[in-house]
């Protein structure tokens, strides 16, 4: 069911770089796991609604407004940017 091409497609969707060895292993392991998942084919779910949430949680909302962050926490976040320019996070150009 899982061939190398599918492994490569999924790895690309997941933005994961896999070595050739990893791809071979992944193909074998995912196939075995998905074979086990086929167990779910036995269950008739034709009149069942998908699970939504436990309890009576439904559309919990809050006011859409910016909240300020403790200055110490803010500094710790900025310090950990891999690349920065002052207090700005620097990223590679997209194109």
């Amino acid at each position: 069911m899982i061939d190398k091409k599918l492994v490569e497609k999924v790895a690309h969707l997941a933005r994961l770089e896999l070595s050739d060895n990893e791809k071979i292993k992944m193909q074998r392991e995912l196939s075995a796991i998905l074979d086990y998942m086929a167990l779910l084919n036995e269950v008739d779910v034709s009149n069942v609604a998908p699970f939504y949430a436990n309890g009576d949680l439904f559309n919990i909302t809050r006011v859409d407004q910016a909240s300020s962050l403790d200055e110490q926490a803010r500094q710790k976040i900025i310090e950990q940017f891999p690349r920065q320019d002052g207090a700005y996070l620097k990223v590679k150009e997209i194109f």
């Binding site: 599918l6 075995a32 086990y36 998942m37 998908p50 949680l57």
Partner: protein
């Protein structure tokens, strides 16, 4: 010593919080070369926290029950200013900018945080062997795993390196290591404890909970960390009214599906003997059926990996954590993630991405979500007939280090008795009730959502008749 005993000793000035903390730090120094429960120990800040408590006592100020009690925290829960690695290379040098809500609540009570404990990378595994940093050994048998993913927390409590620990449970990650290490572990009802500051694995399943030596301690810690938090929209204050539960007035369901093939004989005998004792004490024992439990493992590994694949998309080498240099943005993602994640995490991201991908979504993710509804309904119906459900936590006691590491499916199967409860969102406690040779065996006490109080009452009664 229990939390209440420590509290009394501190008040009586039998020992100081500093002396108690130093004692734990010495135990850690002595035990860690064998056990490997901790990823980091913060001696200085622990002693500073202890001095604050001692000063309060000296001045005659009132102290709370948890003041001066030393604990350990799973390294997936943020403690401000300390490293939080989630057991992963991708967060090897990450410093937590703030406290998780559960931590803030504990700190407010004056607990002493000794350090951060080992776990399977991003809380994915069942043995703590998937940590990127070290293996943790079971204090009852150093050739065996402590269970996982909160294996460091369970081992630290069992080895008496701390009084209690916090762990997190997505599919059994508190209960199974508690069972393997012979300690008490609670997975609270989904929503009972805020997930704010817990590094997300599968958001519809994750819960923070305590690992302790006794049920009473477990209740004290749970009561401290529970409750609604504005930072976690799924947290609630729901609490069942206090009813006095005694073994004499409860109905206990025994689901036949949890005692089938694959359950080891010794584990079965230990669990059956505790059920007999409960019956002798007056409980009504009923055989029940949770017919869709056999599909729970397949359902769980589709739902949890799908959620994990989305949650772990944030580790992209851009905002924090490991960042590989590359020629363009796409390469930064690919290389940082390819380098930073370990094999189990990659496997789960792949499985989840596959289950959510176009063409496979209906057959896998959507199907699993419907099966989840049926599993939940099984539990709802069961709790119309009974107050509690008893099952083993694991089909077998702690296994050998290395025994399952090369076979992911075999590793997944060790969660078979804990994942159904997670999918249903119900609370469950692992209570040590016996030993198979020298290896502890845990009983799983399950109840209806938000009936933790009832679970604690039954657990304490059982502790007395073991």
């Amino acid at each position: 010593m229990t939390i209440k005993e420590i509290h009394q000793n501190l008040l009586n000035k039998d020992f100081s919080a500093r002396e108690l903390t130093e004692h734990c730090l010495e135990t850690i120094k002595k035990e860690e070369p064998k056990i490997g429960a901790f990823l980091s120990v913060s001696d200085n800040s622990a002693l500073e926290q202890a001095d604050v408590v001692d000063e309060k006592i000296k001045q005659g100020q009132e102290i709370t029950l948890l003041s001066g009690v030393p604990c350990a925290i799973k390294d997936a829960i943020l403690v401000a200013g300390q490293k939080c690695t989630a057991g992963s290379r991708i967060l090897e040098n990450y410093l937590a900018p703030y406290d998780a809500t559960a931590i803030a609540k504990l700190k407010k009570q004056g607990v002493i945080i000794l350090g951060k404990t080992n776990l399977d990378e991003f809380a994915m595994g069942s043995s703590t062997e998937h940590s990127a940093f070290q293996a943790t050994r079971n204090p009852h048998d150093l050739t065996r795993v402590p269970g996982g993913t909160s294996g460091g927390s369970a081992a630290a409590v069992a080895a008496r390196e701390c009084v209690f620990a916090l762990g997190s449970d997505t599919g059994g990650s508190i209960r199974q290591p508690a069972s393997f290490c012979g300690v008490v572990g609670l997975k609270p009802t989904y929503g009972a404890v805020s997930r704010y500051g817990l590094i997300a694995h599968a958001s519809s399943l994750d819960q923070i909970g305590p690992l302790t030596k006794t049920v009473e301690d477990c209740q004290i810690v749970f009561d401290t960390i529970k409750g609604k938090d504005e930072h976690d929209a799924t947290s609630t204050d729901a609490d069942n009214p206090s009813v006095n539960v005694d073994l004499k007035n409860v109905k206990i369901g025994i689901p036949k599906e949890y005692f089938g093939e694959g359950l080891e004989k010794a584990t079965r005998e230990i669990i059956e003997s505790i059920i007999k004792k409960a019956e002798k004490a007056g409980a009504e024992i009923r055989e029940i059926s949770l017919p869709h439990s056999q599909y729970a493992l397949a359902c769980y590994y589709l739902v949890s990996t799908s959620e994990a694949s989305a949650n772990l998309a944030r580790f992209d080498g851009i905002k924090y954590g490991l960042s590989q240099t590359a020629i363009n943005l796409a390469e930064v993602y690919l290389k940082s993630r390819g380098e930073g994640f370990g094999s189990e995490v990659k496997r789960r991201i792949m499985l989840g991405t596959f289950a959510l991908s176009s063409g496979y979504y209906d057959a896998f993710y959507a199907k699993a979500q419907k099966v989840r509804t049926m599993i939940k309904q099984d539990f709802d119906q069961a709790f119309e007939q009974v107050d509690f459900i008893f099952t083993p936590v694991s089909p077998f006691p702690a296994f050998k280090i290395g025994e399952k590491i090369d076979d992911p499916l075999k590793m997944y199967l060790s969660d078979i008795l804990t994942v159904p409860i997670s999918l249903a969102g119900a609370p469950a406690l692992s209570l040590p009730v016996g030993q198979d040779g020298h290896l502890p065996v845990g009983l799983q006490i399950i109840s209806r959502p938000f009936n933790e109080k009832g679970i604690f009452q039954i657990g304490q009664k059982l502790e007395k008749i073991l």
